[in-house]
Amino acid sequence: MALRLPPVFGGSLARGLRTLSGMSEAELVPKARLAGPMPWVIAIMVALTVVATAAGLALSNIAGNAADELSGGVTIQIVEANPTTRLQQAEAAVARLNRTPRVEAATIVSEDEVERLIEPWLSGLSGVQQDIPVPALIDVRMRDPVTGETLGALRRLVREVAPAARVDAQSTWLGPVFATIDSLRLLSFALVGMLAAALAASVLLAVRNALGANRDTIEIVHLLGGTDHQIARVFQRSVGFDAAGGGTIGLGLGLIAVLLLGRQFAGLGAGLVSGGALGWIDWVLLALVPLAGVALAMITARLTVLRALREML
């Protein structure tokens, strides 16, 4: 029998340690995309992360806006039962304050405004308001943020002309509220961190399962000269596609939830809450959540595969 020489490949296979070429890379790990649970797990994680991030950003905005608004604000109450004396002291205090260089503006809060402010607590008790001695309120805007020293100086200054005055920094009043907002903000970002860790853990488990299911294929590719990085890239790409699909769905779900919650909060019309509206940078950050999820999933997949392959020769 005459020997017919084999038509071997003419090029060199020592050409280097490049990626697997062609469609084989996608097909080497047989796994139908969006058919397994992982994309849906990623979708849920991303949706929750989007909501938690939005909450954190909204709380940051609330805290930031309120702090800006209140940092230079001082409220003076003239607690005096006699309406005439109360008004005289209030006017004298405003006159003195407006001559002080560190004060930008001092104005008496109108009675109508005061009534509107206390109305939620006294509604249904019409007529009673006239019998209750409501303090006169003076709203003071300082040129610089209020410190303890500023507040002390202001207190001495005002009491010279209005002995019944009680001087408080507006930020002090809302200190406990700010502390709560800050805690909630930190909680939101801690949740984002925990969700990221959970996402990484779920990817790690999924990749380990896939590695086990494809062990024979991996060994064959290894023995044919495939490198760890080539094999890792196969899994990384597969996980990347899954994460991109899940991330897109998760972003959609998360944004719907954020918009619905936003509308509900907007309906409250409360002063503090309205300061939590998301700006365009916030929306960009939310849009980046699935991208960060994809990056995290791909990095986790890569490191998991490389670590597992190190145990093989």
């Binding site: 071997v8 290894h222 495939g226």
Partner: protein, 243 residues
């Protein structure tokens, strides 16, 4: 390649192999393989043929001794450098080890794709190779739909497509009829004519006579029978080289 002197491509020196804490399955194995030679590795079942082949195709590191392959110390070589050596090898596994979800074409193309060969470059060689092994009409079939002989030929095509410097085949005729066995042996001979060193492990002594110029390595209970020292210090073949 650095250190690939005197032409030998493989050198084993007092190699021993044990799995875990069991007794050694290979003991004091020493031999030298030259390019373009044809070797039969024989021995009874359990003699250590498959273990020796695993060392040859770098699926296993020995417990002791020294192995040099293509001039590199295969024992101390960092694992990052093993793929480059493996690309110089072709392996036909006893159980074929075809990737079950890939077609015959994709299985044969796998070594080329691993090496980063572009799709347009690999279409013709892979098609020609499948034609060479008589499977041109089965190139889109999955391994599960192929007969044992057909799977064997796909495995051989995959092993030789990259024109390896050394082909290692573990019982390649074990699952085929005698006529097909002769045919497969002719394929190996043809590859050998191109300069590839061929190592065929078999327990079929009838095959040995079919390749007149072949050398025989006989394993007995994990030890290589080499009474004249011809395997350890073989004469250099005058016609070594690629054809």
């Amino acid at each position: 390649m650095t250190g690939e002197h005197a032409g030998e491509i493989v050198q084993f020196d007092n190699v021993g192999l044990r799995y875990g804490t069991d007794r050694e399955v290979l003991s004091d194995v020493s031999f030298t393989l030259y390019p373009g030679s044809f070797y039969f590795l024989t021995g009874a079942s359990g003699a250590g043929k498959t273990s020796l082949l695993k060392l040859l195709y770098l699926a296993q590191r020995p417990s002791r001794g020294m192995i040099r392959m293509f001039g590199a110390d295969a024992i101390t070589l960092p694992r990052e450098r093993l793929p480059a050596l493996r690309r110089r090898l072709g392996v036909v596994f006893q159980d074929f080890r075809l990737v079950q979800h890939l077609s015959a074409f994709d299985n044969v193309a796998l070594p080329l794709r691993v090496a980063g060969v572009a799709e347009r470059e690999l279409q013709k060689p892979v098609t020609d190779m499948l034609e060479w092994v008589g499977l041109a009409d089965r190139m889109h079939a999955r391994p599960a739909t192929l007969s044992g002989g057909e799977q064997q030929r796909v495995a051989i095509a995959r092993a030789v497509i990259g024109r390896p410097d050394m082909l290692v085949a573990d019982e390649p005729t074990g699952n085929v009829d005698p006529e097909m066995a002769i045919k497969l042996l002719r394929l190996f001979e043809a590859l050998n004519r191109l300069g590839t060193t061929v190592v065929v492990a078999t327990h079929d002594i009838h095959l040995l006579k079919k390749v007149p110029d072949s050398l025989i390595m006989r394993l007995e209970k994990g030890r290589l029978s080499d009474p004249t020292g011809a395997l350890r210090y073989p004469p250099r073949p005058s016609t070594a080289g690629r054809g």
